[in-house]
Amino acid sequence: MRRLNSLCHLRTDLASVTAFALCCVLIQPVGFAEISAQHTTSLSQNEHRTRPLTQDEKVLHALNRLTFGPRPGDEEKVKAIGLDKWFEQQLNPESISDAALDERLLEFPALKMSPQEMAKRYPFNNTIKRLAFKNEDRKQGRYAQLPRIPGDPVSKAIWETQIYRERITKGEKAERAEKKAAKAEQSMNAAEPAMQDGMMQQQSQNAQQQQYRNAEDRIPTMSRQQVQEIVALEPQDRFNRIIAMTPAERLSLLRTARVGNGTVNPIGMRLLQGFTPEQREAVTAMYSSNRVIAPEVLESRLLRDIYSERQLEAVMTDFWLNHFNIYIGKNQYTPATLPDYERRIRKNALGNFETLLMATATSPAMMIYLDNYLSVGAHSKAGMRGALYGGKNTGLNENYGRELMELHTLGVNGGYSQRDVTEVSKVLTGWGIDRYGQRGSEFAFNEERHEPGTKLVLGHIIQGGGENEGRQVLHMLATSPATARFISKKLAVRFVSDDPPPSLVQHMAKTFMDTHGDIKSVLRTMFHDPAFWSPQVYRAKLKTPLEYVVSAVRVSGADVDSALPLTRSLATLGMPLYGAQPPTGYYWTQETWLSSAALISRMNFSLVFSTNRLPGVNVDWARVLDGSQQAGVQPVAYEVPSGSANPMQVQKEQKLESIVLGFPASDKTRRTVLSEEAENFATQAARDFKLAPANEENGDGNSMMSGGERLSNKGVFRERKNNRQGAGREAAMEAFLQRRKPTDPQAANMAGLLLGSPEFQRR
């Protein structure tokens, strides 16, 4: 099921912040490497090129293929270390310090929580729904399982505010239930201080008088003065004050300050300003847990791709996350499973394939995404019981069984039949999660659901043996020659060419078999194969949108305060992170990404980004130009085109070509970049590049999806730890709020044109 678009039915709170990245996503066609590929090399600019790569070109090639693109000075560093040694370092990521990235990731403490810790602090919306309408819940006989609100004041504040939000925002149906719940509420909140400002009356009046535009409008606003009083407090006092509020007050404050609803606004920023990351997360989550979890999942992944020194690990993590695709919009439980899923994949990204496969097969994320947690053997205890009592949903589900073979291991022509799909699905019955619908769910094998008896998989008899059956089958699949070929081919398409030479794939597959699936060794074989260095493949791979965006950020040395505008840009460019709905993930071949619409978005992105028009992303071209000099980057030498502007501009352009492209641009590109009109371009592009496709949302009232200005779960501006103190912070924020002007507008415009040029679209 490829290129499904749209997610328009995101329910409830998941929609709140992830939606922008997910909606209107077209995941596109043409995975047919075999089909599309023939054109690649023959039509690319390298058609007739036969001269072997120079040493400099080899370095650039390695950086383009094995990292998310060079940063200023990277080529010089690799040259200093030596290409082979650098590659070996990258193969062993634990040998490389990643302190700078780690510090950035300190902004996301929620992602480091264990599932149990997360469960306590950030409830699922389902849980909140049940608590909000307890009476209805009780009617359905589920009262006994109703979760308890945690006791610590911060978690309690999060839960209670969310419960309150649920009651207020859920329409007429909610209002009816609200009344019923009101009595229970009174006793529950008896200890809380009385509401101030007659907010309750105000609210009910509003409820009658207004035609609500969306659900969030049901929340009464707070007076400006009140908000300002709160904002004026010292951070710790401010936080304490928020915790001490009633749920109703808190919700009004969040709404008035528009915290975490995707807008950039001074009040929201000031409200969160000076908070520790934990405090910021807590206050943001008070509206909805997925205003924290989902955006942080996206943001942290992108920051890693941009800033990790362990670039090959990041590239391979991305490769496997795509291979073992998970769609973040599957349901409301999925975002919370992704931090663990990403860690599993990263840990094994350069390890053993079977271990990696097993890590995905035993992940809650995969069990949920491909429905296996629901699958029940017809003759298992649970299945028999279900049949006996007329249970509806107790039987086999083939989804994971099929994709495991078609997409994860053997490949679609890997020699399995429908019968094998059914048998593998039986083998895997019982593989699932322990407590669905609750945070803290972990992988569990449930014997009661497991189909008893022997199975026949690909001609092998699998003896009845519970969980071990699945392990046998996964071992069989992981070590099959078809898998070795399938994985090797896919890697070669990612790293070498849309149409890799069969001999290269054979060599890699042989290494795969010889080393029992050691990914490092397979990559080493690829790196040392002449096909990797063939002049025909040099600069011939079209960048995917992710590669395009990350390489642009890296080459510009941009400082990313909030990566959310970039994650939204990826959605606009057709490749949102964790946004591929079909299990195929995205394709690596150029036909997938080459179209008029895509090209237009790339050009607009390049200018918007380069000239600092993406909030939260700061590009300082003056610094990049200075820095390049110190790093010993050689400007591209060329004959100055006649009629060129001034020598200063030419000098800058020469440097920029070297920094951005790493090789001389074409004459036409250069003439355009040097044209005097370049300065006006960016303003125009800013109008035409919408962050994330315009899309209205229904239902949950988070109207945060369209318009270039809106973003971020945390009001965009986050200070890094080291400048959290003092007046510098204030000044930095003010500067940010006014939109930083480019330090060197001329350089920014020229760089933008280079980033949008045909030359930069390839790696």
Binding site: N5, L26, Q45, L396, W593
Partner: protein, 415 residues
Amino acid sequence: MAITRRAVMKNGAMALVGTSAIPSFLTRAVMAEATTAAANHKKLVVLFQRGAADGLNIVVPHAEQNYYQMRPSIAIKQNEVIDLDGHFGLHPALAPFKPLWDQGHLAIVHACGSPDITRSHFDAQDYMESGTPGLKSTQDGWLNRALQVEKIDPKLATAFRAIALGTQVPRTLAGSVPAIAISNVNDFAVGARQKNAASVSSAFQEMYAESGDAMLHGTGQETFEAVKMLKATDPAHYKPAEGVVYPNADFGNKLKQVAQLLKANLGVEAAFTDIGDWDTHQAQGSTQGRLSNRLKEFSESIAAFWKDMGPEAENITIVTMSEFGRTARQNGTGGTDHGHGNVMFVIGGKVKGGKVYGKWPGLANEQLYEGRDLAVTTDFRQVLGEAAYKTLGAQNMERVFPSGHITPDKFLGIV
């Protein structure tokens, strides 16, 4: 294919206009003569339901006893379907289709599908879009080939002969006839909204015009020509016809834009878009739920599109398709797994609607394909072929569906 896909109007009349907007009269004049379909204003709109829609719950064989036995919790009850002919009935969420059926504009083909037995989404979609089931080496899509059939002067071809709403040109439209993918008509510009002399668009255009990179050069050329043409139609101010409301969701927005492009006299002959999330392995629901929500958006969008096109709807044929059907029996998790035969809708001014076409194979256990799925009695290419033949004038069926043995005598007589 991309090198030939580039806009070929370079030397045509429109290129003379240069960077400024192309007057729409000129566009119209050029298009009026280019092809038969354009001359007759005929348009073929293809809609793909990605993920394998559950045809048995879409057009429900409510007279089949076994249907209810196989789907104890997800079947649509006899008193819930919108009855069509005593044997079949529409899912209640397809209510917007009923007027079209009554007016004779909507035809249904049931037990329709691919001769290839694959149950892989990937392969099945690929085969349906290439139009060559079982043959992976096909490089272009059936709809593109249908447009190739008629030889036209490349100078007169418009960049908009084939359009797709989405970020990429779909497989269906891949091929030597230029096809344009548009994700949003209003954003389809590079800084071009400004009337400023210094146009970003032309700057980039120059870069791409002389790029030695053939693929990027081709796509770039195509892109900038299309940008100019579209701009001339003032897309930002589009208003659907009086009283027409499209569902405010992805598919509705796409169809609205298809309508917009069709009405703009850009020379569109074939349009393609898709709607996802039909892969209802679990909890697909019956009259309410996941499938129902999908069908509601699907049918409301199409009905709005039809109404929006007004008198022009007469010249339009809409065909819907999905890669395969789903298991006749519900699975263990309140959903259905990958199956075989499915249902297609054909809607149009010239359609002989109000009828369910195709030979019905039955749903008794022994009638099921491989004991589990609705059998296929009509090759999907018979339906697509007829639509392309009669709407686009693509008479060379061997070209459209190579080795498909689709000949006009195999058409069902729908259009």
